[in-house]
Symmetry: C2
């Protein structure tokens, strides 16, 4: 995910000279969608993780192996795709066998869990970074795009929000958590996010749009609104928090992290009224927690944050994603 000024860079690459007929979706969603035959689409997504920017230099190789793939899987989840193939480009400052063994064990454990195969890649010397290109398969016509939200659709998120930002704060000594179980839970949520693959697949015929929450609810929901040409009302009192987060931080801090903390890798999706019953059944079968947090409205109303149905004006400093509002 590009962010901040690096969004600008994407503009240099968002041009199509030769529009191929087999490219159903190019740049602009969680994945590109490629058509090879009439039955299935291939979903492709690329993520780069650079040491010191996307992960702390102190991260363990096992956590890095896990998280780099989980982040990439999350993009597939947001389209409703079945994970299939991975290409891994790994740049390392030096040959370190212990590091490589731990990293690759962790990576392959997750690949195996999802029935994926590593099909290629490249290993080079240089400052630590990784680029993963993941591919998945989706039955033709059933991919969930960012652009399908319509006025009146209900807005949902899976799981709980803000935990990952709290876990990062623990790692950086910005948040002190004495209770070991809460500390462990928040760290896990940051280091071992669960890609919502099953949920994404269950949403294929039910959700009108979806995105994964990498930058924070406000920033990511805005992508849905932009692509769908809609507005939204979010009921702040309905945002789902974990028990650990509620116990360890103030309600105000929890709200900030839920809205703009980033890296939760939950799904945010919209569902038409007519599909709400089926949604309860489908996600119930998947054993997945999900919460309705608002409703899609007309573009003219923008993105409104409400508490007890009253507009809330949040004035926060230091939250870039939000301040771009």
């Amino acid at each position: 995910m590009a962010c901040g000024e690096f969004d600008l860079i994407a503009r240099y690459f968002d041009r199509v000279k030769s529009a191929r007929r087999d490219v159903v979706m190019g740049i602009g969603d969680d994945c590109a969608l490629l058509s090879v035959d009439e039955k299935r689409l291939i979903a492709v997504s690329t993520d780069t993780l650079v040491s010191g920017i996307h992960f702390l230099p102190t991260i363990s190789p096992a956590d890095l192996g896990y998280k780099s793939l989980a982040v990439n899987l999350s993009d597939l989840a947001a389209m409703g795709a079945d994970p299939a193939w991975l290409s891994l480009a790994l740049t390392l400052p030096e040959m370190d066998e212990n590091w490589l063994a731990a990293f690759s064990d962790s990576l392959f454990e997750q690949l195996d869990y999802y029935g994926m195969q590593l099909v290629g890649g490249d290993t080079t010397r240089g400052p630590l970074s990784l680029t993963l290109t993941i591919q998945g398969l989706i039955p033709a016509g059933r991919a969930i795009l960012r652009s399908g939200a319509r006025i009146g659709d209900w807005i949902y998120v899976t799981g709980t929000l803000g935990d990952s930002a709290a876990g990062l704060a623990v790692l950086q000594d910005r948040l002190m958590v004495a209770a070991a179980p809460d500390r462990q839970y928040l760290l896990e949520r940051h280091l071992r996010p669960q890609p919502r693959i099953l949920q994404g697949q269950a949403l294929r015929d039910l959700a009108s749009s979806a995105i994964d929450l990498s930058d924070g609810l406000i920033s990511d929901l805005r992508h849905i609104l932009d692509r769908s040409d809609c507005g939204a009302r979010i009921h702040l009192e309905d945002l789902p928090y974990s028990t650990a987060l509620r116990r360890q931080v103030s309600p105000d801090q929890a709200l900030r992290w839920a809205l703009s903390g980033g890296e939760d890798y939950e799904l945010c999706f919209t569902v038409p009224e007519i599909n709400r019953g089926a949604l309860d059944v489908a996600l119930g079968h998947a054993g997945a927690d999900f919460t309705c947090i608002g409703q899609i409205g007309p573009r003219s109303e923008g993105l409104q944050l409400l508490r007890d149905n009253q507009p809330v004006d949040l004035d926060w400093h230091g939250y870039d994603h939000f301040s771009r509002e």
Copy 2:
């Protein structure tokens, strides 16, 4: 392309826990081959280029945009694939609009030439590096693998060898070339290698194996021999050199660069006796230069370098690829 000790790293990733039936070729060839329907295969290849390792930090953005894609296309050429889709991960130390404009113009010019589309990627801040994942299409059953060479097959290369290494030497002031046309030619061969896409496609039904020359003839041919379980005899007097290279360096230097200089991005391929006539016609139609340089032999004979049919024992220092012999 991994090289040197970084070959070791690949071993950590060359394991298959869940072997997917749709993976026709995993790690171990120029591209992975993925099967989506019964008619076509997808060829996928990933290359990372790191500043100071894969390209000089002084390279122009236009040359970098060209070469990074050309190198990636060369892997498709070696399988006989039709170029289709590109994912680009670009890590930049800073936002530089002039750099980005020149880089992306150059990239899109070549994408357009090959009828390709950029379908996704990622832009991040960090030390300059690029990872490209390229995908192409091949009719099912017609991909050219490294593993198909058989005893008696003839060994060919496209174009001329050693020019790229000479061009790099010019850039690094290790080779002085006063004649402007020769200098320009050698620089172009290093900075603007021509991926042999048309040649690869023409070879689909004719060649028994192929690889692209990224590390140098000896090192790359050895991959064919390893995968095909064969040996080879190379006739050194038959190696093709450009007029510029012959004019500017000694025969001994030209030979070294041809065998182990690397980055020529020509194809090395093998052809059964029965296909030699058809080869002349097919590559003649493509307007491509190609030269027979030897013949595949039994594994027990290893890789033999001959001059006037006599074994040549080359004792060079400082040529890693060759010294690994």
